[in-house]
């Protein structure tokens, strides 16, 4: 019997962690929960912010789905999600959404004789590999993209993230945009049913599995690929240019995106136009209530985000995340002024640096 209750308790804890730990009794302390992808940078910011102001930010990385649930149930001051909510969904739940930080997803390979940045891939080929239609490294489609490379007659072992994650969402979202077949057969979500390959848990799992299996291909967050010096591929973007994964190309994707035309910042940064844009880029979003139950807590959360936009770039950079471009930041702060309901006739946000 103990075994059953253990499993049940474990799964319950996953859901409850946010409720129990996230809600705080003090208005001074800001509580948030959600996406795991931005957790390292949020934690870093929170630490620096506490040293500077004494206000603590308690962020629980319970996953985007959990973050959305928690903010809807009002158990936290802010939620965080790697996939943006659609405008109608925001409307329905009475939420305000804005992008906070960006990152990129990078295909990594383990093919004998191939060095980082040598292998060239485009979207349709990547999709066909994950559909199982291209199953050998010396396939004509890969050869055509890499005429100068010596490609072995080796089976491709696709590796995917088995845990539901924003990384999965970005990767599958990109593939559905470049491949009709992928859209029909798999679709895009934080977890999908992969037709081939094997799943590994977390970035570290994908990295390890790819590193260990000859002929493997996987995808991990940029920070992970860089820190582990993995063999990344070069991708062809929407403009037909070959681009390397790096801060500049992620930022190019964000800058090309039309944020102002999309209510609720419903912009998914995959497959953006622009000669420099890395095709699998994504932003992580913050969700807050239009009419917060505790306006003081919401206000101090906004102060923290304002501080992070202004002072957090270097820390983000050190952790290989990409800060939001300045024009997007000023748009977001504009949203804060108008997006929230007034409290006692006063706007929630009346400008930064207070």
């Amino acid at each position: 019997m103990t075994i059953i209750s253990k499993t049940v308790i474990r799964s319950a804890i996953a859901g409850l962690a946010g409720i129990v730990l996230g809600s705080s009794a003090y208005a001074q302390n800001i509580s948030g929960a959600g996406a795991t992808f931005p957790y390292p940078v949020y934690a870093r910011w929170a630490q620096a912010y506490q040293q500077e102001t004494g206000t603590s930010v308690n962020y629980q990385s319970i996953g985007s789905g959990g973050g959305i649930r928690q903010i809807k149930e009002r158990t936290v001051t802010f939620g965080a999600s790697d996939s943006p909510l659609k405008p109608e969904e925001l409307e329905q739940a009475g939420l305000v959404q804005f992008p906070m930080i960006m990152g990129g997803v990078v295909p990594v390979v383990n093919v004998p004789g191939i060095q980082p940045g040598q292998l060239r891939l485009d979207g349709p080929t990547l999709a066909n590999i994950y559909l199982g239609e291209i199953d050998s490294w010396d396939d004509d489609a890969i050869k055509a993209l890499n005429p100068d490379l010596e490609l072995p007659d080796l089976a491709i072992a696709p590796v995917y993230r088995s845990d539901g994650s924003g990384t999965n969402f970005l990767f599958t979202n990109y593939l559905t945009q470049v491949s009709e077949d992928f859209k029909d057969q798999v679709g895009s979500a934080t977890s999908v049913q992969w037709p081939v390959g094997l799943g590994a848990r977390g970035n570290e799992g994908v990295a390890a599995q790819t590193g260990q299996t000859r002929g493997a291909i996987g995808y991990v967050e940029y920070a992970y690929a860089k820190q582990n010096k993995m063999t990344n591929a070069v991708m062809k973007n929407q403009d037909g240019q070959w681009v390397e994964p790096k801060s500049e190309t992620f930022q190019a994707a964000a800058a090309s995106a039309d944020w102002s035309a999309n209510p609720g910042y419903y912009v998914i940064l995959t497959n953006q136009p622009g000669a420099q844009s890395w095709p699998i880029t994504g932003a992580s979003f913050i969700l807050m209530h239009r009419q917060p139950q505790d306006p003081a807590a919401a206000r101090s959360a906004l102060k923290f985000f304002d501080w992070a936009y202004a002072n957090g770039d270097k820390m983000a950079d050190e952790l290989d995340y990409v800060p939001m471009p300045d024009n997007v930041v000023s748009q977001v702060e504009q949203t804060w002024t108008t997006g929230f309901a007034e409290v006692n006739g006063e706007a929630m946000w009346t400008g930064g640096n207070q």
Binding site: M1, A14, S162, S191, R201
Partner: protein, 326 residues
């Protein structure tokens, strides 16, 4: 205190003291009964909330939930066949590996080991039990899987894999991780549980009984097989069941090495998933009522599987006792 002393003292107890004592006895009894019933209450609560959580999924998919292999969060079609298969298969492999090894260790420790070796080996076994499961998972992924992939897996594919029919179970590319790897890691994880229980119950066999058998000229093997095992079979089965329960529900280690694919491969080396691994992997990011409900329904199925296994074990034990009594 001797009997007469107790009797003497109880005679000294006055009426009020006796009443107080009986009151305290009652209070003690109801307190312990309350704690015992609390277990039933909690178990009932878990069951009810699981059923409640699983209802939307079971209502939507009905019996199909137990017979389809689809697990597609995008189209919101869910079926539990592959996690059920993975759960049972990994537990089966774990038992196939764990039981004989545990039995060997326990026999060695109780019957054959020189006294100076008993303690260190015994302590080592108990230390194995103390290692957190995540450590087994990480070790499995980073150490065991690559070694397995490069040595044992190619060997199995070249030998057993070539035999018709059975060979199918050992075919396919050597990924290192998969159902077989998860089963083997689980086998190592259940070792200490089964071993320490077997050792403890083997030690309860009165030396006189064994010595009598030896005196009749029995070999060590005969003593173990015909004296020790029949004497301790209830405890042995209990230990095996404890190990099986752990293997069925183990989560953390399995998610690292099972391959996490909602598919039933024809080979044991193919990636698969288990119920607890699927829940642990997907619960955090699951969105939508049907998805979450399907994951809870998986939990309910695991509840049933474990309950059935324990019930079968009890029935088996009762049968064995009856036969022994007849």
């Amino acid at each position: 205190m001797t009997d007469t002393a107790i009797r003497a003292q109880s005679r000294v107890l006055s009426g009020s003291q006796a009443r107080r004592q009986s009151l305290m006895d009652k209070a003690f009894q109801s307190a312990t009964a309350f704690f015992a019933l609390l277990v039933l209450l909690i178990l009932g609560g878990v069951f009810v909330s699981l059923v409640q959580g699983a209802l939307p999924a079971l209502g939507t998919f009905g019996f199909d939930f137990l017979t389809t292999q689809v697990w597609n969060p995008v189209t919101e079609r869910f079926g539990a066949v592959s996690p059920i298969y993975g759960t049972l298969m990994t537990a089966l492999i774990a038992m196939a590996v764990g039981i004989p090894i545990s039995f060997g260790i326990a026999v060695f420790l109780t019957e054959l080991a020189p006294p100076w070796l008993k303690r260190p080996v015994g302590i080592a076994i108990e230390l194995l039990a103390g290692i957190p499961s995540i450590i087994y998972g990480i070790w499995g992924l980073f150490v065991f899987a690559p070694v397995f992939q490069q040595t044992l897996q190619p060997f199995l594919i070249d030998t057993i894999g070539q035999i018709p029919v059975v060979g199918n179970l050992f075919s396919g590319p050597p990924f290192g991780i998969g159902i077989l790897t998860a089963g083997l890691i689980l086998g190592i994880m259940v070792l200490p549980f089964i071993t320490s229980i077997m050792r403890d119950v083997f030690e309860t066999v009165p030396p006189m009984v064994k010595e009598s058998a030896y005196g009749l000229g029995a070999t060590t093997w005969e003593v173990v097989w015909k004296v020790v095992l029949p004497y301790t079979r209830v405890g042995v089965v209990g230990g095996v069941m404890l190990g099986l329960g752990r293997a069925l529900g183990e989560t953390m280690a399995v998610t690292f090495v099972v391959g996490n694919a909602h598919r039933i491969g024809n080979s044991l080396m193919a990636p698969g998933t288990t119920i607890s691994a699927a829940i642990a992997n997907e619960f955090n990011e699951a969105v939508g009522e049907l998805y979450i409900s399907s994951l809870i329904a998986l939990g309910l199925i695991l509840f049933f599987i474990t309950f059935t296994v324990l019930a079968l074990a009890k029935i088996m034990l009762m049968r064995m006792q009856k036969r022994a009594g007849a």
